[in-house]
Symmetry: C2
């Protein structure tokens, strides 16, 4: 649960605590409910927006962290679900909990038994979870790639970025990624099949980053899948081609800033008219709950993983007491790919 | 033709000249071509971006102004067109000219005989011309209105704005317009059926404009059809609701600025993520040439005018020598509705 919100800077272990409580399986509602066991907790950058004060999305002190988990059904009074079924969901971070039918209908909760086993269930908080739905929805339905177009993915070695780049390669696009450090850049090229990688840590100012982008994409950027914010957003914006569009997915460079210190980004609306450019923010929920495109995202990504077309990288942390470290590492850049906590 | 580009400020008559040249009807290509007579020349704010130096779109000194005209076919060697047919088109501002089949295929050129007579042909540079295609495309396909939503139209008494507001009312939206001065605001409410009108000249700073917008739309803006730019863009952006979108159509407040003086606008990409907000620039061409939605725009607007659901206001200037005055008045705010020059 949240002990003290992290107002500024990197979240610390001292901001969180683990509490014991009793779940009584006999309280499973006979009119419909599930007893679920979490096997994996996810740590995702977006949660930083909830672990702070004064926002509508803020988690109140003393309340459990709510995020993405993957787990197993232990008991069920719902026809669609049987004991042993595997699932992904947005739920409070409890190792065991009862989920009423009403709660089930008001959250994202999807079946994974057709695609994963318990041995591979960590993918249910990754490629077949929120990051997968985010990458698929943002690329396919927000950016709408056309074969031969050039895409820039920022924070490309992260859980979402690596999937976006690989999906775009499968669509016949040229893909450039930004990442921090030579190791991550090497991974983009060698493992994820990106056409070019830019080490943003080698740039001491936005002009250097812009020069590297223009050198990799002299034709301009048709699409940007943006995860970083601040000067990275502005630099990518300046490199947009005619008809260019930016899917705004994240702003990790701004997440640890105080609300009043978050720098705004400059755009030129007049330039956007004649170039028919578009900037569009989105969240994964419509895809995750099947409201947009049904189960297409999970089908495409599951087949991609099975065929080897989509490769995944996970960083594991063992035990729920490691969750704060896993969360902090997202902002320290210590992780590569999906950060997963084994319960 | 363009004599000297207007580098800064309001364009003047001295920037333009009228030249005589001879058109020989016997030069009409037998393999396909039209001899056309212009009856109306349009004056539109967007042309300011062409009457200046140093842009890809700049008209070279000595070349004719190219813009929207409505006219009549005088001779034809093309099956689809016969003598007497009425048309709208993007063409050089010549009273009489030969248009080859090749030129016809590379410009916007649409038939108006089914909808207008010579007495009403001025509408071919207005509601059944570029402003109509712009209003229809920007509202229906860029903003995509949902019944009950709230729309802000900036520069709402202009040729495009007045159509956008009326189309949105027909879709069941609440419509707020900004205009300069009480007369134009009165027109928005009384003639064009807007729900609220804001006199931007009554605001001495953006905070006052924001307060008036929030007072008219305490629910926030679901849609903005933006024609003004600079602080008006920023103010409207700040009032966007969750799921809000801005169609960027024009930036009249910036058109007379020197390139290096055009102020950028500030946005917060992080805010755009969780609100799924969108900013999208567009031009009318895809609708005007029928590439998006076929002839739907002309059908809907023509029926609206005939039924009286869509009302039009035109400001006429007689004689091509008045074109520079008509053009200047767009930026002085002296016009109401569509500015049309009778040839």
């Amino acid at each position: 649960m949240l002990k003290t919100p992290s107002e500024h800077g990197i979240p610390q272990s001292s901001n969180f605590s683990i509490v014991d409580s009793v779940v009584d399986p006999s309280e499973l509602p006979s009119e419909g409910g599930l007893l679920v066991r979490a096997l994996f907790f996810s740590a995702d950058p977006y949660l930083r927006g909830h672990v702070r004060s004064g926002r509508p999305s803020s988690i109140a002190v003393g309340n459990p962290i709510r995020g993405f988990i993957a787990g197993r059904i232990e008991a069920s009074t719902i026809n669609d679900w049987k004991v042993g079924d595997l699932f992904g969901a947005s739920l409070p971070f409890s190792t065991v909990q009862i989920v009423s039918l009403k709660a089930l209908r008001s959250t994202a909760f999807w079946k994974l038994s057709d695609h994963l086993t318990e041995a591979t269930l960590s993918l249910g908080v990754g490629v077949l979870g929120m990051p997968g739905a985010t990458a698929f929805g943002g690329l396919m339905d927000v950016l709408r790639p056309v074969k031969g177009e050039t895409l820039l993915v920022t924070a490309a070695s992260g859980a979402v970025g690596q999937l976006v780049g690989q999906l775009a390669k499968l669509k016949g696009c040229k893909v450039i990624g930004t990442a921090g450090g030579p190791e991550k850049c090497k991974l983009l090229i060698e493992k994820f099949n990106f056409d070019a990688a830019i080490d943003h840590k080698s740039c001491s100012n936005p002009a250097q980053l812009e020069a590297l982008i223009r050198s990799s994409a002299p034709e301009g950027l048709n699409m940007v899948f943006e995860n970083v914010g601040t000067t990275t957003f502005e630099t990518a914006y300046r490199c947009l081609a005619i008809g260019g569009r930016i899917a705004v997915c994240g702003a990790i460079a701004a997440y640890n800033e105080k609300q009043e210190s978050i720098p705004l980004c400059s755009i030129d609306p007049m330039q956007m008219i004649y170039t028919s450019q578009r900037i569009e923010g989105f969240v994964c929920t419509p895809w995750l709950v099947g409201a947009r495109g049904g189960n297409e995202w999970i089908r495409v990504l599951s087949e991609g993983v099975k065929s080897g077309d989509i490769k995944v990288t996970e960083s594991f942390y063992d035990g729920i007491e490691r969750w704060p470290d896993a969360f902090a590492d997202l902002f320290l850049g210590n992780n590569v790919g999906k950060v997963v906590v084994r319960v």
